[in-house]
């Protein structure tokens, strides 16, 4: 029996039951879906990644033993996504695929929330989200894992299988880029650097 066959058998035997699975989806679905959406920047891809992550987690049947099931799910999502990117030879993203811009992401993220109450905050959030989305993939992943999913530096390092020092340096690089990008204009309003109106 080959390694793959063994894996398959183990997988079949270890699938968790539907009720437990449903409970986990309900509990962690929102956090995972947000991550998938920002990771892929495409709603269809996000939905696929979201489903695949749960399917893999349920088949492995280790999630209930995990101290931090959310981090466990994000780790799977991260690696499925990176694997997909690797398989396609780190293909360059193309404009034809309808990637969501920051504004659409904000609308999706804020569904059901009172827009009027948050207009002011939304403007700023959009700028931040847009800037985060424009970060290189490697940097974006650590920022999302840290700020969106509350993963520690050590957890991110373990998920990505890189040293903690590398996670820190990626984080520093990301923040540096974001600081350069997000600046105040003379009117006291925050802008993306290149769009700051001329004060003269």
């Amino acid at each position: 029996m080959g390694e793959g066959d063994k894996q398959r058998d183990v997988t079949k035997e270890s699938e968790m039951n539907k009720a437990d699975a449903e409970k986990i989806i309900t509990e962690y679905g929102k956090a995972l879906h947000s991550f998938c959406l920002y990771c892929t920047q495409n709603k269809e891809s996000a939905d696929d990644l979201y489903q695949d992550t749960f399917l893999v987690a349920f088949a492995k049947d280790e999630i209930e033993q995990e101290a931090n099931p959310k981090s466990y799910l994000i780790t799977i999502a991260m690696n499925l996504w990176r694997n997909q990117m690797r398989k396609t030879a780190w293909r360059k993203r193309i404009a034809e695929v309808s990637f969501l811009d920051a504004e659409k992401l904000a609308l999706i993220a804020d569904e059901g929330r009172s827009v009027e109450e948050e207009v002011q905050r939304r403007q700023e959030e959009i700028l931040v989200k847009k800037s985060v989305l424009e970060l290189p993939e490697k940097l974006r992943l650590v920022v999302l894992a840290y700020y969106m999913e509350d993963m520690s530096i050590e957890e991110i390092a373990s998920a990505l299988q890189i040293p903690a020092g590398t996670v820190k340096s990626r984080m520093n690089k990301a923040k540096k880029l974001l600081k350069e990008k997000l600046q105040y204009g003379e009117d006291g309003i925050r802008y993306i650097a290149e769009t700051i109106p001329d004060a003269r």
Binding site: K30, A59, R113, V132, Y147, E149, Q161, K173
Partner: protein
């Protein structure tokens, strides 16, 4: 902007508040009963291995330039191997007396194609396709900026599958190991396929073996340009690797190979031996790059070749 402020801003802005559609939950529950995801689980394991093994070569992006000149196809009953010569910055089938050293360095003499080029289309393989993905990109001449054709690239999950599906030939009687990053490229200019190339990397012990096959008649020319990259993908100017430690190995099947190490690069500084072997014969050229592989293991892999 102060550090804390950015932290707070990021935390506030990146709240996980995207509610997945309710239907997705039901879809997952249905799929978990029907679908076998062991391949996906295995792919994650493969990714782990791949990352572990590619840690060292990853610090440098290596650009391989192979120039093959000549047209037409030779149908030979038996192989006729071309003599391979080692030059300061590469290897070729051009003898030293015909070889202009400046040619190697002077990129104006060469057509440099921007790589990767601008992608025109991409698609994932369907259930009946052997390939994983297909992309078509523009071939752009770097110096002049003119578009000279298109490059269609397929990614395959396996070397033999790629070989069989592209009407190429396997160069091995025994596959050296688990293959990763298997791709097949077709270059088209003015409606004619001008070049085909199959690339596959294999894990071998603690290193990797990369094979590039080009079934074109003509001479082979290889030089290796390196772009050092840092952790963030930033790169500085490219430079050429110098050849050193030229030697010969005659395989068990009686074919004599010329081996040469590539020096002055990041791999050398990290203590990783990078050895290349150019095999040029009447039906094409094969370049094999050994990274982090002992001399004996290189011989073992060369003994697996069946051309």
């Amino acid at each position: 902007m102060e550090k804390m402020e950015l932290d707070i801003l990021l935390k506030q802005s990146l709240t996980p508040d995207s509610q997945p559609e309710e239907g997705l939950k039901q879809t997952i529950l249905e799929r978990m009963e029907k679908e076998d995801v062991s391949e996906k689980i295995r792919s994650l394991e493969t990714l782990k291995k791949w990352r572990k093994r590619s840690m060292l070569p990853k610090v440098a992006a290596v650009v391989l330039a192979i120039l093959v000149v000549g047209t037409g196809t030779v149908y030979a009953a038996s192989r006729k191997f071309n003599q391979v010569y080692v030059h300061k910055y590469g290897v070729s089938t051009i003898s030293e007396d015909q070889y202009d050293e400046n040619f190697e360095r002077d990129e104006r003499e060469m057509e440099i194609i921007e790589y990767p080029g601008e992608i025109i289309s991409e698609e994932m393989g369907g259930p009946d396709d052997k390939w994983i993905s297909k992309s078509v990109s523009k071939l752009k001449e770097k110096n002049s900026g003119t578009y000279v054709g298109t490059l269609t690239k397929y990614m395959y999950p396996d070397y033999l599958m790629a070989v069989n599906n592209t009407k190429m030939e396997s160069i091995f009687h025994t596959i050296p190991g688990e293959a990763y990053q298997v791709s097949y490229e077709e270059e088209e200019r003015d409606g004619t396929t001008t070049c085909r190339r199959l690339t596959a990397s294999f894990y071998y012990h603690h290193g990797s073996v990369m094979v590039e096959q080009m079934p074109c008649e003509g001479f082979g020319f290889v030089r290796i340009r390196v772009t050092p990259v840092d952790e963030f993908g930033d790169s500085s100017a490219q430079y050429l690797l110098e050849t050193k430690n030229e030697r010969k190995y005659t395989s068990k099947s009686g074919v004599e190979y010329t081996l040469v190490d590539m020096g002055n690069g990041v791999n050398e500084r990290l203590g990783i031996k990078e050895t290349i072997v150019l095999i040029s014969y009447n039906n094409g050229n094969v370049l094999i790059t050994f990274l982090g592989i002992s001399e004996q293991d290189i011989y073992d892999v060369l003994d697996m070749i069946d051309l």
